[in-house]
């Protein structure tokens, strides 16, 4: 496990370097002056500009420029937004938790619905229910997410009136900002209307989370179906059957555990996909997250915000990726480090 951790750690550091290098080079690729793109100070006077040039070491060679940029990023200084002229790290601190909350809930929904459906399809391999699940899955990943979101709003918010259509929580509730993750903040607050606020926040998250979850859920269906079919064809399953175990015992004690391990490996990769879908969904549901903020920054040509938003978002995706790798390695001894004798 130690070598595994060390290898992941070097991969992590290396990828972080590449990501910061990418976001550093974005300042050169975007139109306008590089140092202004770095700092976002569009109204800087000549003397302020001189200070900025010193801070980002713009007169030095490209390596010291990168080093200066890196030290700014590491100390949490992303410059200020060109559009609102407020420090970006403050904005990110408020936005990122909302996106985390939404995407993690969506991931949970996608896994809890997709994986069992995939298992059912695999157990009923080549029967009607298998084909029905597969056709549904294909329809699910063919639907454009923005259209699905609009239809969901029309049906559940306007026609039926069951769920709210926009935002994170009703404005009536005043929740103190602690972690930014709404549910934790509500539980920490000492408001007398805590539970009303909690149910209100859950009503707000259901619709966008389900819309985001649909496409990843269909991918989980396919992944878990393939994994289960592979496991059921393995010889240890045949051995278990020969021992006289009942069908349920085989499925629940042996097959599901081994199939789940194969699926967990892909969760990290699917998460990146899910976050992209979440960006679009945030726009439709006016969710105060980083995706909507990023797309609005593109409209406003707020290059500093685009650059730092992308950096933070990709770091978040990558950290989740690494975490799932660790979970996978913890559950599956075969994945840790060297395979002896192979």
């Amino acid at each position: 496990m130690l070598t595994f951790t060390l290898r992941r750690l070097t991969l992590f550091i290396f990828t972080m370097l590449v990501l910061t290098l990418l976001s550093f080079s974005l300042s050169f690729l975007f139109p306008g002056d590089t140092v202004i793109n770095h700092s976002g100070q569009i109204n800087a006077t000549a003397s302020e500009l001189q200070l900025l040039n010193d801070a980002y070491q713009m007169d030095e060679n490209i390596f010291s420029q990168y080093k200066a940029y890196l030290s700014h990023v590491l100390s949490g200084d992303f410059g200020q937004s060109m559009a609102s002229q407020s420090p970006i790290n403050h904005e990110l601190k408020a936005l990122l938790p909302a996106t985390m909350e939404l995407s993690l809930v969506a991931l949970l929904i996608a896994m809890l619905t997709g994986i069992p459906l995939g298992f059912i399809a695999a157990i009923k391999h080549n029967k009607t229910s298998d084909n029905a699940i597969l056709s549904l899955a294909m329809l699910g990943y063919s639907i454009p997410v923005f259209w699905l979101g609009l239809l969901a709003i029309l049906l559940f918010s306007i026609t039926l009136g069951w769920l709210p259509s926009a935002g994170q929580i009703s404005l009536l509730f005043e929740i103190e900002f602690v972690t930014g993750i709404q549910f934790i903040d509500i539980l920490l607050s000492d408001s007398p209307y805590k539970w009303q606020a909690f149910s209100n926040a859950s009503a707000h998250i259901i619709l966008p989370a389900c819309v985001i979850a649909l496409a990843p859920a269909t991918i989980f269906i396919r992944l878990s179906r393939a994994a289960m079919i592979e496991v059921l064809a393995a010889s240890y399953i045949r051995a278990a059957r020969a021992k006289g175990l009942s069908f349920n015992q085989i499925i629940f004690r042996h097959a599901i555990r081994n199939a789940l391990i194969k699926i967990i490996r892909h969760v990290g990769l699917q998460f990146a996909n899910l976050v992209t879908i979440a960006m679009v969904t945030e726009v439709i549901f006016s969710w105060p997250g980083i995706g909507r903020w990023l797309i609005e920054s593109i409209y406003q040509r707020d290059y500093t915000a685009i650059q730092s938003g992308l950096l933070v978002l990709s770091c978040f995706i990558f950290i989740v990726h690494i975490l799932t790798d660790f979970i996978y390695a913890a559950l599956n001894p075969l994945a840790r480090g060297n395979k002896y004798g192979s």
């Binding site: 454009p144 259209w147 609009l150 029309l154 996909n273 992209t276």
Partner: protein
């Protein structure tokens, strides 16, 4: 009585024809294939058969519902939008933008990807290993996110969107070509033609490509369904096709303000996107299914 001796000549269809034989017998795949051909024809001939202009509006006929609605007019079969533009014509022209452009983009990325991929399959060592790791990083970034980044650099617009998506899809073709070519090069028939003195490029062209073309096609259908969704999503977000262009995602975004009075301006483009993506996916599933069956026989 003399017996005629008849020798039947055995005919072995080429791998591609075997695949087509299996593909043809799957009804669902053929439905998808017919829809796919229909969309391609529509994309080419839309300007000839569309009844009205996609951009000019008729201000007397604003927000007309589709013809099956009691207030509908049969000369505007799918109704009109808020500027009196005929929805049917806009959707037809949109086929050449959303579907046609995605098709061209995928062909372009496929050609570039296959060239780079097969060249890289012939190289060994550090260069090849670097490429492999680099591709792994690029492939783990979702295509839409990468396209949004590139559009952010280039600025919004349909031509920038097309470039962005073309660049985004090249790595996956490099990856699959590289993998497939390497796998074929290990097989005996390649060794046979190598012993005949064929050069690497001759082997690639005459021996390897005919055997990997189906895998590339299957990857191309995957890429195209993603490309349709990406073009439409960028159009919807206002980063792709700009206002008067009848791109499906942009039409949908345009109808958004009057969603509750004129729901057909949102339903119809969404259905068009869904139809195009499902048709593409059905073709892809058909190819993969046929590939699997051919392998088993």
């Amino acid at each position: 009585m003399a017996r005629e001796k008849i020798y039947l000549e055995e005919v072995f269809p080429s791998p591609f024809m075997q695949l087509w034989g299996i593909f043809r017998k799957t009804p669902v795949a053929m439905v998808g294939f017919t829809s796919f051909i229909f969309l391609i024809l529509l994309a080419i001939f839309a300007p000839l058969i569309a009844p009205y202009s996609p951009v000019d509006g008729n201000l007397d006929m604003i927000l007309l519902p589709p013809a099956w609605h009691p207030d509908g007019d049969v000369s505007y079969l799918l109704g009109t939008d808020d500027l009196g533009r005929d929805m049917l014509s806009r959707l037809m022209y949109g086929t050449s933008l959303t579907f046609g452009l995605s098709f061209i983009v995928v062909i372009f990325s496929l050609v570039i990807g296959v060239i780079i991929g097969s060249l890289s399959a012939l190289t060994k060592g550090v260069k090849s290993s670097f490429l492999n790791h680099f591709l792994d990083v690029i492939l783990s970034i979702p295509s839409l996110l990468l396209a949004i980044i590139i559009v952010a650099i280039l600025g919004p617009g349909i031509s920038n969107t097309v470039w962005a998506i073309a660049i985004v899809f090249i790595p996956q073709f490099i990856h699959i070509t590289r993998y497939a070519v390497k796998e074929e090069f290990r097989k005996d028939y390649v060794l046979a033609s190598r012993l005949d003195g064929a050069s690497n490029f001759r082997i690639l062209y005459y021996s390897v490509f005919p055997n990997i073309v189906e895998r590339l096609m299957s990857q191309a259908t995957l890429a195209q369904s993603a490309a349709i969704l990406d073009i439409a999503t960028l159009g919807f977000l206002g980063l792709g096709a700009q206002i008067p262009l009848p791109e499906w995602g942009a039409i949908l975004a345009n109808g958004l303000e009057r969603f509750y009075i004129a729901p057909w301006t949102v339903y119809l483009p969404g259905l068009a996107i869904l139809f195009a993506v499902v048709a593409t996916n059905l073709v892809g599933e058909g190819i993969r299914h046929a590939l699997k069956l051919r392998k088993e026989n």
